[in-house]
Amino acid sequence: MDSIDILKRAFRRYYFDKFDTKLDRIKEREFGYATFDNRVIRHISFNDKNELRALLVREIPADVYASNAYYTNPEAEIELKNWLAADLIFDIDIKDLALPCMKDHQFSICINCKDISNEKICLKCRSNTKEVNIPCNNCIEEGKHQVFKILEMLNELGANKISVYFSGNNGFHIHVNDEELSYLNSEARRDIADYIKGIGIIPDIFGMGRKKNIDHIKDALNSEKGWKGRIARELLSRMDRNRLISSLRKKSYENFNNELRDITKRLGVTIDTVVTIDTHRIFRLENTLSSKSGLAKIKIDDVSQFNPYEDAVFIDDEPTKVHIHYAPKLLIKGNSFGPYKDEIVSLPLYAAVYLICKGLASEPKVLN
């Protein structure tokens, strides 16, 4: 039995015993999946969730995806599917936040000799390395902070039926199932993505055009809502109103433009634009496991209380022996593990699966 057999055993049991989904309009969506031997199969459709579950139990995919789009013919090739609408989706990847703590828990492991480094090519044996990231509490909290910001902005846009998901590995997904927004094309979604990210603001909306309008500047500083309100609060937090107005009077268009860009970049949310503007994407399906971690993509009811190492762990705790090449200290399901370095250990299946998925452990080799 190799490492993949351990994963398949764990995934099969999950899909057989625990999988369920509340995904709506299943018939109109395209599904796809990746296998453990790295094949990707897409353009599949199901009549209902029982058919979907049957496939999951039969094929035991490494990763499972469903389209955010609804089609008349979801099985057909992309040009023949007949696009009807698509949920609006956002992807927050903690890795993209460039947090200072990353250096403490991101490293590389050589796929051959298992040496730990920060290199793309192993310095010892010249083989490729695999990048490993184990998000810490700080990462998760920063990710949640991004989620709260996006929720505030979606509220400004009047979006209804918003669901927040843990992505299954290293981030959060936000699904907006709002009919009015579901008909928007890629261009309109790009404008929403830019709004969320804080891209494209111009000084003119603050009265700071090539020709200054002092009344307009004063008005803008009174704003409470939307981007204008956010920027006004930020500027007013730096100095009092009168000093601010007189400093803006003196400021050049270019200087204010640069300042605004810095502010909006900081107050905006780090999302992957490509995901949001793609109206034909297949995106990880809720309540399925990620082969990058063994954790599930799950809907979060209370974002502030959410802990992925507690709430997204659905694999059972059957004791499983694994050869751990390297692992920092981990806390999963309230149990502490490690640190480990090149040792064979018996762990609950969920912890073994986590480390195998991260490339840090494998099935112990049996000597003949």
């Binding site: 992309i78 040009e79 400004e156 846009l157 009047g158 979006a159 009015e180 927004l181 008909y183 928007l184 094309n185 890629s186 261009e187 309109a188 404008d191 929403i192 830019d194 709004y195 804080g198 891209i199 494209g200 603001i201 111009i202 003119d204 909306i205 704003s223 809502k225 939307g226 981007w227 204008k228 909006t264 490509v274 503007i277 793609d278 109206t279 034909h280």
Partner: protein, 335 residues
């Protein structure tokens, strides 16, 4: 609330059904417009020519003349049957109408403003606009985006608008600009639908004058679509050929593709002449920018097929043969 519209409104907004009803009440017969009535025919022709030069009259003339010259203009354009001419007329007339709507929305009479909102925006365009405060209006975010994506100035981007509680809050000027293309489309459809038998010679003569005027004008020549272009490029060219708006990303793709296959800046610019919002100076600046002759002097590459697909601009067919960039189109097939 009762909608209050007069014959002056029919004159300002001759694309609305009230204008046609008004003419019906007057009981005109098309045959009356012979050479002895050349004044109104010449006014119609002039109306078209001013529109083609994008200089429609800002003034409102005598209501009957306004309405009838509009309807005869539609008839002349229908017989002429050159799509690019009809489209340009429709857009210029829509711009003129925009000014009238803007003024009417500034009217102190609340019932009057409400009538415009109800009759033009809601009943005719199916767009619900709510008066927010005096001289400010609000529109649902999705309704806004559906229209604003065709407008390329940065001030139309959502981040530069007052957005809260599900609405985009706009000044009057913006709200009327937002519907220009829809009104133009309504006018264009009216031209297409004109169906009059037994056209008087006097009108046919005006059609011929207009034909001679437009025949040598490069703005109205059809774009020749060569089959050697990949389908994504042909799709943009055929959209432009219909004088329909193309998105910012489609413009980027077309320009970078043409520059990459060695077309000159002049030739690349000329492809955009058919865009309804064509502006020679802006187009040239943008094409030169992409060619690396302006701004940061960086030239822009034609996007890959994957990127084009993610922008929903891919119309691949079997001839594409798994190419990775539109620049490879035709190459793989030949070996």
């Amino acid at each position: 609330m009762e909608i209050i519209f007069s014959k002056y409104d029919a004159a300002k907004y001759p694309f609305l059904p009230i204008a046609r009803e008004y003419v019906k009440e007057l009981g005109y017969d098309l045959n009356e417009f012979n050479e002895s009535n050349s004044y109104i025919l010449d006014k119609s022709l002039k109306r078209i020519l001013l529109a083609l030069d994008n200089k429609p009259s800002k003034e409102l003339g005598e209501p009957d003349e306004e309405i009838i010259s509009f309807l005869i203009s539609l008839l002349i354009l229908n017989i002429l049957d050159i799509r690019s001419v009809s489209k340009r007329f429709a857009l210029a007339e829509a711009e003129r109408i925009e000014n009238f709507i803007e003024n009417d929305l500034k009217d102190e009479n609340e019932r009057r403003r409400e009538s415009i909102l109800r009759y033009i925006f809601e009943n005719t365009l199916g767009l619900k606009i709510i008066e927010d405060s005096m001289q400010k209006y609000k529109i649902k975010v999705a309704e806004y985006l559906r229209r604003s994506v065709n407008l390329h100035d940065p001030h139309w981007r959502l981040i530069n608008k007052d957005v809260y509680e599900g609405y985009v809050h706009l000044e009057i000027h913006d709200i009327v600009r937002l519907i220009r293309e829809e009104i133009a489309l309504l006018i264009y459809e009216k031209i297409e639908k004109m169906n009059v038998k037994d056209i008087p010679e006097s009108i046919k003569n005006r059609v011929e004058i207009l034909r001679r005027y437009t025949i040598n004008d490069k703005r109205f020549k059809p774009i020749i679509i060569v089959n050697k272009y990949p389908p994504c490029i042909n799709h943009i060219l055929s959209t432009l050929e219909k004088n329909d708006n193309v998105s910012h990303t489609a413009r980027f793709l077309l320009a970078t593709y043409m520059l990459a296959i060695g077309k000159s800046i002049d030739d690349t610019c000329s492809l955009f002449e058919h865009a309804p919002d064509y502006n020679e100076k802006i187009t040239r600046y943008q094409v030169e920018f992409l060619a690396g002759k302006r701004g940061n002097r960086k030239s822009y590459n034609c996007p890959s097929c994957e990127k084009i697909a993610s922008m929903n601009l891919c119309y691949k067919n079997e001839e594409c043969d798994n190419i990775r960039t539109p620049l490879q189109f035709g190459m793989k097939r030949n070996g």
